[in-house]
Symmetry: C2
Subunit: 280 residues, 2 copies
Amino acid sequence: MSYRPQLSSASAVLTREVEVLDERGRASVIAIPAERPLTVYVDKRELVTLMTLGGAPEALTLGYLRNQRLVTALEDIVSVQVDWEVDAVAVTTRNGIAGLAERTSKQVVTTGCGQGSVFGGLMDDVDRIVLPTAARLPQSTLYRIIDAVRNHQSIYKQAGSVHGCALFSAAGEMLSFVEDVGRHNAVDAIAGQMWLEGIAGADKVFYTTGRLTSEMVIKGAQMGIPFLLSRSGTTQMGHMVAERIGMTLLSRCTGKHFLLLTGQERLVYEPGTADVVRYA
Amino acid sequence: MSYRPQLSSASAVLTREVEVLDERGRASVIAIPAERPLTVYVDKRELVTLMTLGGAPEALTLGYLRNQRLVTALEDIVSVQVDWEVDAVAVTTRNGIAGLAERTSKQVVTTGCGQGSVFGGLMDDVDRIVLPTAARLPQSTLYRIIDAVRNHQSIYKQAGSVHGCALFSAAGEMLSFVEDVGRHNAVDAIAGQMWLEGIAGADKVFYTTGRLTSEMVIKGAQMGIPFLLSRSGTTQMGHMVAERIGMTLLSRCTGKHFLLLTGQERLVYEPGTADVVRYA
């Protein structure tokens, strides 16, 4: 990886403790995830306010700009400076973003959690996406991935109410794990990290705790990742888009169980693997 | 209820069957929820595209316009005509919407599922909302509501991957139940129904399967409903906003369990109720 914009590394407290009463009136203190606005300014122009957990705001901002196709080359970005004092991130570009106003005027409100808005025309690009046909995922590697997510320390385990996304190598090593109150923020943050580090998607596997809706599938495809897994389910458009672009979609991934929805040729079944008891 | 706009009653197929392979390579057919775009045109001007299950498109459109505060009086709406042939809904207003372009130019992308976008300024109104302080919810009524949702026939039971919202009377009768791929669509559809039928929120209870994020709390408050329940959790801003406007927030409502987060004075504990075994 060569070029790197100037990035702040603004950290924020990710959980908060609140007092609650249970069904018997017993008081206790529980942790809940943070949710804070992050207003994105591009060259001093207000673009959007993202509601986020706040764990990876610089990567989220980069991934958002990229997944919205507002910036195509990392070199165009001079700096990304997050300031939680004002809940804002200032993005400075080298030459500005041509026609930003027009390009952000049309909106699609999607089923996405956390980042429901995809600017117009995104669907038009779907058919241009080509995912590697030769990529393969052995069943044992799939199980390794499912276990890795299950065993990972997370805000979800502490506080619930967040979505997690993870990027895995073809061998099933976890390369990145991001949680957010909205699953689309988590996806975008990982996309931002991949962009920053120059990580290609073609030999990767993407995992999300959220539902496989059309927007999730499109974002996975934008990252060039052929495998998209979820412990949750899918929707008609998520399934349709995955079929159209030839993505391998797996839902209901828990323990040894999964449902292989599309791109079935990429999964390598290993007879007996589903029966082996694993302790992780 | 007096005035009623002209409404289509466009129905759509809510589930689709797809073939899947499980962990042993066994083929089966499962149902998945529909997800389709619905582009909202107001007086022939394109406003937004909502990704929706499609179960209550007219109510969704009305509730969306109202919750985005784009239309304040039902009388201003002449007709709402949904046409699934073109995945569009045509809204005709009596006098147009003043400054529609400006009012829809600023966006907040929230943690909402399904309807992630709230046009700017919404938070500014929060403090003006006054919820009835005298309203009370007996613990036994809360349990009646939780049971009613559990026993309700739903797309979720058939196909998963949808969020459900329900409106209940103070006595715990289910008045409305709407599901959507995005929980904010489900909320807006119920808001649209309430608007259409002239139903007040002050003596109602709102239930959602989704997380209690800031936007959910704000939308509940916009409907004037003092009680918001979820079987899921909450976020810091959801909790903070509920506290600020004095809404009674209950999370993790399953079986006999719940967590009372805010507005605690409105819940009437009934000693022993949590111990009674109920068959519903």
